[in-house]
């Protein structure tokens, strides 16, 4: 077989899985990641095991990242974007913009000095996995504002403050779009007052807090909350916003997280405000029964969140039996935000000449095969094509890899 080259755009779980599967067949993969780290959103999620694994899939992302890093057939392009793509004779030529790389991965030994000593928070970003190398990335803004500091801080001499972006053109036989999603921005629902109240957090904030503190604590005081509310479907299934889709992952992540938090703090009082609970895992009836024993379920979505003293929060709670509404106080409210199309989808759609669907995700060309786009040789996988879970995105990535192999005529 003649050497084949593939470009995978997006280094989340979908892109990594597709890259790994293709590399297994000797295909050379360019894995293009816009940010400084591989892994997408899911590399930052915490384990949700109680006394047993709840199959959230987070550790699969860790594993995929390890395999991708170790594969000799995958070239990782961090901090890289695709600027232009042209196609001719079944070949695509892609112009990449790379860097600037302020940290030289060859020299950096991940000692973390730049991160620990950084004069401002946010100038140096920290990867979530030990397989992120370098483990740190310095923002262009950080360098600009603190040139002297960064010029001298690294004991290994790995930081070069004058690094500049470069371009590279690669030629590939096919490409996979795995550019992922964007989490819903809760500020689009102003009555939740997310920006105003420290203790109104999103599902993504919850992951970050659990990661940083080893437990779910209140951002306002670092204490474990006694009374927690989850509000489901925030940004999803919302006619007013025109979001006519269920995000599919927020019922699972909310209930799995609630279970794991409750295992850690058995006294915690947890209420779930919901419209409909979606299936979770292979033994949903048993899981749901356990949840009903452990949490209070209220089938109505609160519209407002009001602040109260001690950074507590008040919600309007509807009592079904009585038919009356009353206010109830919580220590922490988690907004179960959903999966929105990546705002770059429009631009990518133009860049590659592939269509978007009514919701702004990449359209599929066959109603039964979600990996085929409107262009030959361009495939799509993961949340770029619509809401999906980690295992769901991985399965789609495997399918996309399979389609690529077929397209390239790679036999056994």
């Amino acid at each position: 077989m003649k050497e084949k080259h593939i470009m995978v755009m997006g280094g989340g779980i979908a892109g990594m899985t597709a890259a790994r599967d293709l590399a297994g067949f000797g295909v050379n993969v360019h894995l293009i990641e816009k940010s400084g780290f591989m892994g997408g959103y899911a590399i930052g999620y915490t384990c949700k095991a109680t006394t047993e694994c709840l199959q959230c899939g987070a550790c699969s992302v860790e594993k995929a990242l390890k395999e991708v890093t170790e594969s000799p057939n995958i070239k990782l392009h961090l901090s890289t974007t695709v600027e232009a793509v042209t196609s001719e004779n079944q070949k695509f030529s892609a112009k990449l913009k790379k860097g600037p790389f302020f940290i030289d991965p060859e020299k950096c030994n991940n000692c973390g000095v730049c991160y620990e000593k950084s004069p401002v928070k946010g100038a140096v970003l920290h990867g979530y996995s030990k397989n992120n190398h370098p483990l740190y990335a310095i923002t262009a803004e950080g360098i600009q504002n603190h040139r002297d500091f960064f010029a001298s801080v690294c004991p290994e001499g790995a930081i070069s403050i004058d690094a500049e972006a470069a371009t590279e053109t690669i030629s590939v036989d096919a490409l996979i779009v795995a550019t992922g999603f964007e989490p819903f921005d809760p500020n689009q629902k102003p009555t939740y007052r997310y920006a105003e109240h420290a203790n109104v957090i999103t599902g993504l904030d919850m992951e970050r807090i659990k990661r940083d503190h080893g437990a779910l604590v209140r951002p306002s005081d670092g204490q474990v909350p006694e009374k927690v509310a989850f509000i489901q479907c925030v940004g999803s299934r919302d006619e007013r916003l025109g979001h006519l889709w269920c995000s599919r992952v927020c019922c699972p992540y909310a209930l799995r997280s609630a279970q794991s938090i409750k295992t850690q703090s058995p006294e915690m009082d947890i209420t779930i405000f919901y419209m409909d609970i979606q299936n979770i895992g292979k033994d949903f009836p048993a899981f749901y029964e356990a949840c009903k024993n452990d949490f209070r379920f209220i089938r109505s979505i609160p519209v407002d969140i009001f602040g109260e003293e001690n950074d507590r929060l008040k919600l309007r709670v509807f009592d079904e039996a009585e038919g009356t509404a009353g206010l109830e106080t919580f220590d922490l409210v988690v907004l179960s935000i959903g999966i929105m199309p990546n705002p770059e989808n429009q631009a990518i759609s133009k860049l590659l000449g592939i269509k978007l669907d009514d919701d702004g995700f990449f359209a599929h060309n066959d109603s039964l095969n979600q990996t085929l786009t409107s262009q030959n040789g361009i495939f799509v996988a993961g949340t770029a094509s619509g809401p999906n879970s980690i295992p769901g995105s991985m399965a789609q990535a495997g399918q996309a890899a399979g389609e690529v192999l077929k397209y390239l005529g790679v036999a056994q």
């Binding site: 297994g24 067949f25 095991a49 030990k130 292979k282 749901y288 619509g386």
Partner: protein, 550 residues
């Protein structure tokens, strides 16, 4: 015996590349088409008599899918590389990946087939739930399947609108349901409103399962066209006057009783795994999941793996799936098959796991405990290098100590234990952690890289699975001078070898007893479960152990 020199020695073996597919529904047909397209010879076996019986009704799917299915059938029928066996009963399966022997009966004839891999594509069945509702079927009370069948007739639809009939659906009170069931309901509801002005659909429903492609939009379209949904957590009251059902409930929001007397009452159905799954699980020695699907809830199995190499479970054999998910499974299976079977020759490690035939007494302990079904026997135990995942559970269970895993032999591990302990500076508590390479080892390495505080005297011993940790490794560690020992496994349900965590826990429980007898403080031994992304927890547990014994 394995030595470090020949540890990586490979050998070339010839394998069979024919593939057996069990189940000729949409998924099985699709798999046959795709796998044969890759060049492998396919044997497609179906329980049914006639030619490939695709999922009988495709559960209310529209006509264009029927066309697709017909085309698929044609393609499969015309493919010389696909052999169709009707009326099949699978009687036994022996052997290992690349070399399975399947005995089956087809049309009453006994056959023996040699195949390299098996793909299970059994269908789901849709069964009525009227008994749970306590209702008998009649002209007015029908099952979803029957209603779908009726809807396919233009006469029926015409009658619906001309007579301004009302149709009520009951969904989610007898079971939890699924997006696939939801799609059937939503399609039927839409068909009623699209039949023309006049007919009305009422849907009494518990949780609306919209976590599927385009279902939320379909739900809205139905409502926009006039369907009325009552979302209830309890079954509404249903009374049957003469044979006309009346559905009523109390609406707490408007505080009134709402009563509907529908012309037709449609009852939801359960979509359940094929009954044959239980039998197939036994014959193929693959795990049966909690609801009767052929896959356990374990992320290492997703999407299409069973616990045995070379046996794949796809589509509705492993979960309730729609056709596009089934297709996704098919393509994932093709990738795996290509990797497993290749062009019929395969390089395998010569000494992945080695049985000492002198020591083996053919007690078959290993055959029974191997979670991957990798062991068979001639007059002694034999381990298939293709199927073996080198977890080492067998090696630790063998009463004769007849099995060694390359890279993790007893001698090597005991050496490592000794060296690790003597490596610790005097004064620091010596803590030895046996770490599963899939979880705790990763977490431990990350904890070190992230500069979490760790005990100075902590040493990690890599094991392929916690199920490889012998009791005598633990005891040796104490004898060699360890102050604390931790056995660190994957969380139950996340073990790549399914039972490794369970075996490890049993052994540690036994070890506790032994420690008690020898007067060693039990606190010095700890069994822990972790995931690879739990670096902070790893550090915390290790530091606590140090405090406890220090």
């Amino acid at each position: 015996m394995t030595t470090s020199e020949n540890a990586h020695e490979m050998e070339k073996i010839e394998i069979v590349t024919d593939v057996l597919i069990i189940g000729g529904g949409y998924t099985g047909l699709k798999a046959a088409d795709s796998i044969a397209g890759t060049g492998y010879h396919v044997i497609l076996a179906d329980q049914k008599n006639s030619d490939h019986q695709a999922r009988s009704s495709l559960f209310g799917l529209k006509a264009d899918f029927q066309n697709q299915l017909d085309e698929l059938k044609k393609a499969v029928n015309g493919n010389n590389n696909i052999e169709f066996l009707p009326d099949v009963n699978i009687n036994s399966a022996t052997g290992v990946p690349g070399d399975f022997t399947i005995r089956l009966t087809s049309n009453g004839k006994d056959l023996e087939k040699k195949v390299g891999a098996v793909v299970v594509a059994t269908d789901i069945v849709s069964t009525p739930l009227n008994h749970i509702y306590g209702l008998d079927f009649s002209d007015k009370i029908v099952s979803l399947s029957d209603f779908e069948e009726n809807l396919s007739s233009a006469d029926f639809k015409e009658k619906l609108c001309n007579n301004k009939q009302t149709v009520a659906f009951l969904v989610g009170f007898a079971q939890n349901g699924s997006p696939l069931l939801m799609k059937r309901i939503l399609d039927s509801v839409l068909a009623i409103s699209e039949a023309g002005n006049g007919a009305t659909a009422y849907v009494y429903i518990n949780d609306i399962k919209v976590a599927g492609n385009d279902l939320e939009r379909l739900y809205k379209t139905g409502r926009d066209k006039g369907a009325i949904y009552f979302k209830l957590t309890q079954l509404p009251e249903i009374s049957q006057q003469s044979d006309a059902p009346v559905v009523s409930f109390h609406d707490p929001v408007v505080r009134s009783d709402i009563e509907v007397e529908p012309d037709i009452l449609v009852l939801e159905e359960a979509m359940t795994p094929s009954q044959i799954n239980t039998k197939l699980a036994g014959i193929l020695r693959i795990d049966l999941g909690p609801m009767g699907f052929l896959q356990t809830d374990n992320v290492h199995r997703f999407p299409v793996n069973s616990n045995r190499e070379g046996i794949y479970v796809i589509g509705s054999a492993r979960d309730i799936q729609d056709l596009s998910e089934a297709w996704t499974d098919v393509e994932n299976t093709v990738i795996q098959l290509k990797q497993l079977l290749g062009d019929g020759t395969k390089e395998v490690p010569k000494f992945r796991a080695v049985v000492d035939r002198e020591k083996c007494v053919t007690c078959l302990t290993c055959y029974r405990c191997c979670p991957h079904g990798a062991i068979y026997w001639d007059d002694k135990a034999v381990i298939s290098p293709v199927a073996c995942q080198a977890c080492g559970i067998c090696a630790s269970e063998c009463p004769q100590e007849a099995i060694q895993i390359t890279g993790y032999t007893d001698d090597e591990l005991i050496d490592q234990i000794r060296n690790a302990i003597s490596d610790v500076k005097n004064g620091d508590p010596k803590i030895l952690a046996f770490c599963c390479e899939n979880s705790a080892l990763e977490a431990g390495k990350a904890a070190a890289l992230f500069h979490y505080e760790l005990p100075k005297g902590l040493r990690m011993i890599r094991v392929p699975c916690a199920g490889k940790v012998d009791i005598h490794y633990v005891l040796s560690a104490f004898i060699e001078g360890a102050d604390g020992v931790m056995v660190m496994a994957c969380h139950p349900g996340n073990c790549k070898s399914e039972t490794g965590t369970t075996f490890a826990r049993w052994r540690i429980n036994n070890a506790y007893q032994m420690l008690e007898e020898t007067g060693i403080n039990k606190e010095r031994l700890e069994f822990v479960t972790l995931a690879s992304n739990m670096a902070p927890d790893f550090a915390k547990i290790a530091v606590e152990m140090e405090k406890r014994i220090g």
